[in-house]
């Protein structure tokens, strides 16, 4: 199961990754890579980041056995509680790191894309902490659906730009953020929210999120004296899953990435790009993409806005390609069921994203029980943000 050190110096994870950006941006991604390589070797940077993660974000996050769920499924299930981070999800691990780097590089302007608004809020938070101005691109459709997150970003001092082009969702917000970056490349730092984009982003975001897996590995050994047999995490762009997988990549642990099957992969209304496994190039890297026969990008669908993206990080494509991780998909209705189950079992309302991971464990319970599994779930975020939407959905109005 040994894997080569990736990415290589061209930002390649095997055949995936790379830097597919306009020539205007090439010097900027080069400069970013150098600045990041320097920062991560700098003990001062690491210390600053470590202190912020501890005293501002609230790390380490707890890892604890989910007692009632374990009893119900018949094997041990542990939860890594990323929902207990400041702002309620893992996203802030990355934005604190990137904004710290932006400040080090002397960039004065922060931009980001956001889908449901979680990454936008996490970026606005980090920018506020450092007294920097953040501008957030968000699809006009999402602005309408996620009015509260728009207000949160504004409270934090950020400016939100609704994006009217294309499908008016996350992929279009990302296009618009890249257009802004091309235009203002000299003073602007683009904070990408997942393990996607041109090199060095997939590597850098993975590294910032790896704090999840590093803590979890130590905590599992402490709590159980052993490693888990399975680690289960949801995959949209793939940052929470890569963050928990990566430090376990050399261990004999099965890594399970759970994509959003939406209304079912066979219906075409889903966000499961690895299930389809069609290679393509979007937003700076080569990976798997939802696309038609002409390579036009197809809209994704999931009840969970955080998984609603037509691509996936290149390192996940690589893990799929090499077989290091296994990728599965869970439908909207299964995720909703798990959303309820976990709330009742553990007194924890999970984000709909994280509910996909819980749902897979429930679906596979018989087999996992037979195998005597010891499962670690990355509970990437809290579900408070989803309560309104689930409420409306269950009132009968199938709400996108």
């Amino acid at each position: 199961m040994a894997t080569k050190k990736v990415p290589d110096r061209f930002g390649r994870f095997g055949p995936f990754g790379g830097r597919y950006v306009p020539e205007t941006l090439m010097p900027a991604v080069d400069a970013l890579e150098h600045a990041y390589q320097e920062a991560r070797r700098d003990s001062g940077f690491r210390r600053d980041l470590g202190e912020l993660l501890k005293d501002y974000v609230g790390r380490p996050t707890p890892l604890r056995r989910a007692d009632q769920m374990s009893q119900a499924v018949g094997f041990d299930v542990y939860l890594k509680r990323e929902d207990l981070n400041h702002t309620g999800a893992h996203k802030i691990n990355n934005t604190i790191g990137q904004v710290l780097l932006a400040r080090r590089m002397g960039k004065t302007r922060i931009i980001a894309e956001t889908g449901a608004g979680q990454h936008g809020v996490a970026t606005a938070t980090a920018a506020a902490l450092f007294g920097l101005k953040a501008e957030i691109y968000m699809g006009a459709e999402d602005v309408k659906r996620q009015a509260l997150n728009v207000y949160r970003m504004k409270l934090l001092g950020a400016q939100v730009h609704p994006v009217e082009s294309g499908t008016r969702t996350l992929k279009d917000a990302t296009n618009e953020a890249i257009r802004d970056w091309v235009t203002n490349v000299r003073d602007t730092f683009y904070v990408i929210g997942s393990v996607v984009g041109p090199h060095p982003y997939p590597m850098m975001v993975r590294d910032f999120q790896s704090v999840i897996g590093k803590e979890a590995r130590r905590q599992m050994l402490k709590v159980t004296g052993d490693l888990p047999t399975h680690i289960v995490a949801s995959v949209g762009g793939g940052s929470n899953s890569m963050g928990i997988f990566y430090p376990f990549r050399h261990d004999a642990v099965q890594l399970i990435g759970v994509e959003a099957a939406g209304e079912g992969v066979e219906t075409g209304r889903h966000a499961a790009s690895i299930q389809v496994a069609e290679p393509g190039i979007l937003h700076g890297s080569l990976s798997y993409l939802l696309q038609d026969e002409d390579g036009q990008i197809q809209p994704a669908h999931s009840i969970s806005a955080g998984l609603d993206y037509p691509g996936v990080g290149p390192e996940h494509a690589y893990f799929h390609h090499t077989g290091r991780a296994q990728y599965v998909a869970i439908r909207d209705d299964q995720a909703l069921e798990a959303f309820h189950q976990l709330s009742r079992w553990e007194g924890i309302i999970p984000a709909l994203e994280s509910a996909h991971a819980v749902a897979w464990v429930i679906q596979e319970a018989h087999r996992l029980k037979r195998e005597g599994a010891r499962v670690l779930i990355n509970l990437s975020g809290r579900g408070d943000k989803d309560v309104d939407q689930v409420f409306l959905y269950e009132q009968g109005g199938h709400h996108e």
């Binding site: 061209f10 790379g18 830097r19 597919y20 950006v21 306009p22 020539e23 205007t24 941006l25 090439m26 010097p27 900027a28 082009s165 294309g166 992929k171 279009d172 296009n175 890249i178 257009r179 091309v182 235009t183 203002n184 490349v185 000299r186 290679p279 393509g280 190039i281 979007l282 937003h283 080569l286 993409l289 696309q291 026969e293 002409d294 390579g295 036009q296 990008i297």
Partner: protein
């Protein structure tokens, strides 16, 4: 000498820069492409850029985004565009495709290069394929006899300019840090950019992004070997889609007259 080089040489012999208009295939409709190409030819285009629409055109401003979205909404297919241009290239000036890497990658870069050449195209411009990622594409294009046009930007390093020395066709100079779209003034960075490229690369340099009309075309034409006009032309077509061919003719003819009248660069 290939067709692109001939086109630049011919314009240069007349003491003016080459005029390179851009249209999006499928806008206003794909059936209009032959008429548009004829109009651009008669209006005095030296090279014609034909855009293959892509769903996520991240180097384009609002005008070309909208044209691409409309073209795709009408079901414009890559294969149909290849068929549409293959009937035209005999009578028209050299034509190049402008598109994004994913439609080409998905079609297959070898197959696409082969089919584009077979359709009579002379070159290919892919704004989200930087030179360093373009090795396979370049090989495939060269094998088919298609020029992969390199792009340079005001931010480009000398290392990039060195790398494109062996390129073919022409160098596409991006006049601003930004996306395509009409701008009121010509960026001050254009002249130093063109001079830097010309000092290192032995290819004609055409400049695009942001040229609104004859005034900017002449200004850019004083320093560059070619002037690329996209958004201004597509915007004019969008305003009067039923008269697209006439609008295209008028717009490009006006530019051509302005370039014909300009004092020679020397």
């Amino acid at each position: 000498m290939n067709k692109i080089a001939e086109a630049f040489a011919r314009a240069n012999a007349q003491g003016r820069p080459a005029l390179i208009p851009y249209v999006t295939a499928g806008f206003p409709q794909l059936e209009r492409l032959p008429g548009l190409v004829r109009a651009l030819t008669e209006a005095g285009a030296d090279i014609i850029e034909v855009g293959i629409p892509f769903s996520d055109p991240l180097a384009d401003g609002p005008v070309l985004q909208k044209a691409a979205t409309e073209a795709l909404a009408q079901g414009t297919r890559v294969r149909a565009i290849l068929d549409a241009v293959s009937g035209l290239t005999g009578e028209a000036p050299p034509m190049v495709f402008l598109t994004y890497i994913n439609p080409v990658f998905h079609y297959g870069i070898e197959q696409f290069s082969h089919d584009a050449k077979a359709a009579g195209m002379a070159g290919l411009i892919i704004p989200d394929l930087p030179w360093i990622e373009g090795r396979d594409m370049r090989r495939a294009a060269e094998r088919s006899g298609l020029a992969l046009i390199p792009l340079v930007a005001p931010t480009s390093t000398d290392a990039h300019l060195t790398a494109i020395k062996k390129a073919q066709g022409f160098v596409y100079g991006v006049s601003v840090t930004g996306v395509t779209g009409v701008r009121q003034t010509v960026d001050q960075g254009v002249e130093p950019l063109v001079q830097r490229v010309k000092a290192m690369v032995d290819l004609p340099v055409a400049v695009g992004f942001g040229i609104a009309g004859p005034r900017q075309a002449v200004e850019v034409g004083r320093v560059a070997d070619g002037v690329i006009v996209g958004s201004a032309l597509v915007q004019a077509i969008a305003e009067r889609p039923n008269a697209a061919e006439q609008v295209a003719y008028d717009c490009v003819h006006e530019l051509r007259l302005a370039l014909d009248n300009m004092v020679t660069k020397a």
